[in-house]
Symmetry: C2
Subunit: 630 residues, 2 copies
């Protein structure tokens, strides 16, 4: 066993010879970025070996790590293996970092009809002539209040003898779903009832404590999804968990621990007791749902990618290790398919998509973007691998929406104006920044519509690595060492991402027999969406060209959907109905998608007639070739 010490935090961890630095970091819970899940693809896990012996540098690293860094001892944490006691420095750029977490979202008003019912009882104590068992005494008393056919959950059943006596036979029974007594509480507690809504995003985790009496949010907080150390994207985590029971358990434990940590924080801040959290509603995309519930995700990663679980489930909190009332219930919303999950259903519910009179497009933008098109007549859905580019990954100077990220860009007369998050010195570009930048580059002619940087344009320079557009000169950056640029490759990444989204949208349009002319409204959900400039998104052709006032950003409506389903059983029924009725199109099987994807690689699109306003506003050289399959 050798000791690996991580600087600057000084965390130490003992590992056997041959362990990768990444595995050591996972073990020590040291924050190292990994987008590819340890496949030495993303190069985000660059660390500096300060002291001690690790395995020799690999060809992959020699090719990818700049020479002067390689000479200093920089390595990929996923490739360098421990050969003795070592000291490692994790540079700031290799950290997942503190993020701007958007956890709130638009929430429609709902009538409260929770799953929790409370009944106050005054029981007659037993005597030598009335030795009826405690449980039957309780059932009889409930029966006299009209509560029939209930049964005690095993855990609370073991405790009633003590509670009834301590409470002097005056108790409040907590009944779940009208059929299970999950709590027997001393005295009259009818006025207090709470639940927890959870949105498990691939990147972020949001936890809300909701007052089930009035529907108010007693506590809301978020954190990075702690599973990120098993890979930043869904596929990496699916693959990690698919290795075996142990790995699946690790990934599940990570998210459960994260949820419990936020609950703990909520209880401390609000003074609510754990026992008073009677129920939880959890949503997430299908993979997050499965990894939370503990479903082997192997088949989610293999065509035809069906969900393991599609129905809504009620699971005992204790079975999942969720630290609410041990007899409490965790309700997970239904999934539609392997990549349209409970979070999409939550989005649809919160945005009332299924009640829209006119054709509406709802997109929950993330690493995977769920695209839903429809209204009261029916909803078509698909999922597109928009990739993590919008979250700053696979982008040369990309970063998540954290302090110092360039989030807004305007190019006025070839002059770049930008704004960073919290107005700190620029450290990189986040999603909304790169969308703005590319839209502006198109508009000013630094890019052509095929996505090529235009040589000769003022902002474009040619380097041995290829062309790039300088966004922030190094003097203005936090490091002061390197310019922040948009590279040719970055543009390609964004093209792929937006083409996937638009391709998904168009596929649904064509499969459902609708046209963009009928489209009345666009709703962009997702934490990331909140900060996008809709005009820029339209210029890129991420979304179709509808009037800007018909484009709305609703934030984390997955969380809102979880909250309303926590508050109302009617909404849970709606969720099941929406899931049952939602049509799913698997894009992998659709030639239409390929066609639309290729056309959408152009900016805004090779079918320029679909974007008349944008077509008229951009200086970009127009290079278009319409592709039609078959």
């Amino acid at each position: 066993m050798f000791e690996v010490k991580f600087l600057p935090e000084g965390k130490r961890v003992l590992v056997p010879e041959g362990t990768t630095l990444m595995s050591a970091a996972v073990k020590g819970e040291v924050d190292i970025a990994s987008i590819c899940g340890g496949k030495s693809l993303c190069g985000k896990c660059l660390v500096e070996v300060i002291e001690g012996e690790v395995s020799p540098i690999t060809d992959v690293e020699l090719k990818r790590i700049p020479k002067e860094k390689a000479e200093k001892g920089y390595r990929f944490a996923c490739l360098a293996k421990v050969k003795g006691n070592v000291t490692i420095r994790v540079p700031d750029q290799s950290r997942v970092g503190r993020q701007r977490l958007v956890i709130m979202g638009k929430e429609p008003p709902v009538k409260i009809r929770s799953n929790v019912e409370k009944v106050y009882l005054e029981l007659a104590p037993p005597t030598l002539h009335d030795t009826v068992a405690d449980d039957i005494r309780l059932y009889s008393s409930l029966g006299s209040k009209g509560v029939l056919d209930v049964r005690l959950d095993y855990r609370i059943a073991t405790k009633i003898a003590t509670i009834l006596r301590r409470a002097d036979w005056k108790v409040t029974a907590v009944i779940l779903g009208g059929k299970e007594v999950i709590g027997v509480e001393e005295g009259d507690t009818r006025k207090r009832s709470f639940g927890v809504a959870v949105d498990i995003g691939t990147t972020k985790l949001a936890v809300f404590i909701v007052d089930l009496m009035d529907g108010g949010i007693a506590f809301a907080d978020g954190m990075m999804n702690p599973q990120i150390r098993f890979g930043e994207d869904v596929i990496s985590r699916i693959n990690y968990a698919a290795q075996g029971e142990r790995e699946l358990g690790e990934v599940q434990k990570a998210i459960v621990d994260g949820i419990n940590e936020l609950i703990e924080k909520g209880l401390t801040e609000t003074g609510i007791e754990r026992r008073e959290l009677y129920e939880m509603v959890a949503v997430g995309n299908t993979a997050m749902h499965h990894l939370f519930v503990g479903v082997n995700t192997k088949s989610l990663g293999l065509a035809p990618y069906p969900a393991g679980l599609g129905r809504a489930y009620d699971i005992k909190a204790r079975d999942l290790g969720i630290s609410i009332n041990a007899s409490g219930n965790v309700h997970v919303l239904p999934n539609v398919a392997g990549f349209v999950g409970a979070d999409a259903i939550a989005d649809a519910l919160a945005c009332r998509l299924h009640e829209k009179e006119k054709l509406t497009l709802l997109m929950d933008v993330g690493t995977n973007t769920e695209v839903m098109l429809g209204g009261r007549e029916g909803i078509w859905s698909c999922s597109t691998a928009s990739g993590p580019a919008f979250e700053g990954a696979h982008i040369k100077n990309g970063m998540r929406a954290a302090n110092g990220a360039v989030e807004k860009v305007r190019i006025i007369e070839d002059e770049v104006i930008y704004k960073t998050i919290d107005d700190e010195k620029a450290r990189g570009i986040c999603g909304s920044g790169i969308i703005d930048a590319i839209a502006e580059m198109l508009k000013c002619g630094a890019l052509d519509t095929s996505g090529k940087l235009v040589e000769g344009h003022k902002g474009v320079r040619v380097t041995p690595m290829g062309k790039e557009f300088v966004l922030v000169p190094k003097e203005e950056t936090a490091s002061g060492k390197e310019d922040i640029v948009v590279s040719q490759d970055d543009v390609r990444e964004i093209q792929k991402a937006k083409a996937a989204m638009f391709g998904g949208y168009m596929t649904l349009m064509r499969k459902s027999g609708h046209t963009t002319a009928e489209l009345n409204e666009i709703i962009i959900a997702g934490a990331f969406g909140n900060y996008i400039d809709p005009a820029s998104a339209r210029v890129l052709g991420m979304i179709p060209e509808v009037p800007l006032d018909r484009i709305s950003f609703t934030g984390n409506t997955a969380g809102s959907g979880a909250r309303i389903c926590l508050k109302s059983l009617d909404l849970r029924r709606e969720a099941i109905e929406v899931a049952d009725r939602m049509k799913y199109i698997e894009l992998a099987a659709e030639p239409i998608f390929t066609e639309e994807y290729i056309n959408a690689m152009y900016m805004p699109n090779s079918r320029l007639n679909m974007f008349p306003e944008t077509a008229g506003s951009i200086k970009a050289p127009k290079v278009v070739r319409v592709y039609v399959s078959r």
Copy 2:
């Protein structure tokens, strides 16, 4: 921390200073007898301190331990406290020891209608155009076979994705109670289905693996109830567990571990897989039931002694830590009162008491004897603290029914003839032996009907400790050192025990308005009963005087009742009906019981007219005084 070493097994255990040797033995799982539960009453935990320092000998010990033994370093394990590293020898007499365990009992034929249903399914695998989720695919396939409205247990839900693919979509669904899928198995497994029946006796634990296809017993075995180290009798264990959550957990874990050990043995011997054990039915007296389920037993020890749980419950095996199929069900039968529990219900079901046309007495004889009187018209029940005397405890030379125990006695012309278990040299007297001995002593005139040993009778001798009757002279004993005798105190113990039983019986008779003349049949259940000579029991007045051919011994019918309820849901419904209809008399509240108890202290009874046959057959001086309360 000091080390306590137990000889002869050589087991070592580390404990803090001040720990009693008994606690150290509990920790090290060393078998030391304790009837009183560590209250220094029973004196059964005598051990020899070979080496090292323990706390000074107490007054209690000086009074109770024979001088020559005290000088050798003999101590009560419950009083001597560790002061340094010590070596202890546990003499054979202080062992709980290997017992004759009767686990089988009479079982009525039942039509099998188990809670487990198996359905074979061949599913269509998903394709890119049919991406229905795995669970919904399974539900649909079940629906097509007419199985509707079922849902997957959480545990199996997490595994179906893997199982379905490994099984090439040909699986057998295991459905519990017609509503929960607890198993999805590869291929067609419809022919295999097993369950476990458990009888948790205060003294012994019996486990049966039952084939749910044909009702056969695949495996049957028993062991001493491992809870014995927390006290031999129910009250000691109730008190131990009542101390707190930790202690309750210890006592619960002991029984669960014991059951799991026997299951493990059964699986090894039969080749049945753990997964194939889909259900368990468990019975026990109310205290054993509660300690198994994990109910705080404090109120069972306090008047008016109501049961904590009276209804039948279904508990997930995983919640109890029972190692059958993790999604499987543990069904516990209902309890009637604090001291008439699920085992009594099982007895009644197995003996078909509730179907008897004529008045029938059913007694399950043990430390507590459950007395049930009635038939199809209704059943009256009570519980009497018959004490452990019938199991050899509180008897000078008493022992459990193990090798070398005197089990049968005849006195022919003042000559004692006896038989020991396995015909080994006599080590002591077990229950059936002491009943025989006292009956014979009455018949030969060595005892008068008030229970006094008759001075001057050939077999009776007077010692400084009181009168005693020599049963086995020391030359014929295993130790060769001391005569095996029946002391005056021993007779008193047996009088109290049988008076409790008969008093219970008479109370039920009088409360129900019946008379002994109406009594048609006596059924004696319980492991111990099997070996009693019914004629001797009648002479003692343990049971009323009905013709010997109407007295039957049914063995461990609690276990039989568990098995038939495992095999048939109809029997479970019957169990609930019997429990609901059974009238319970709390003897502590009954002056009638006091009256009948006092009368039954005489042998056979102070109301000699109730025992005409016995009255005519005994040479015992007849000393009687009829007691009538109020």
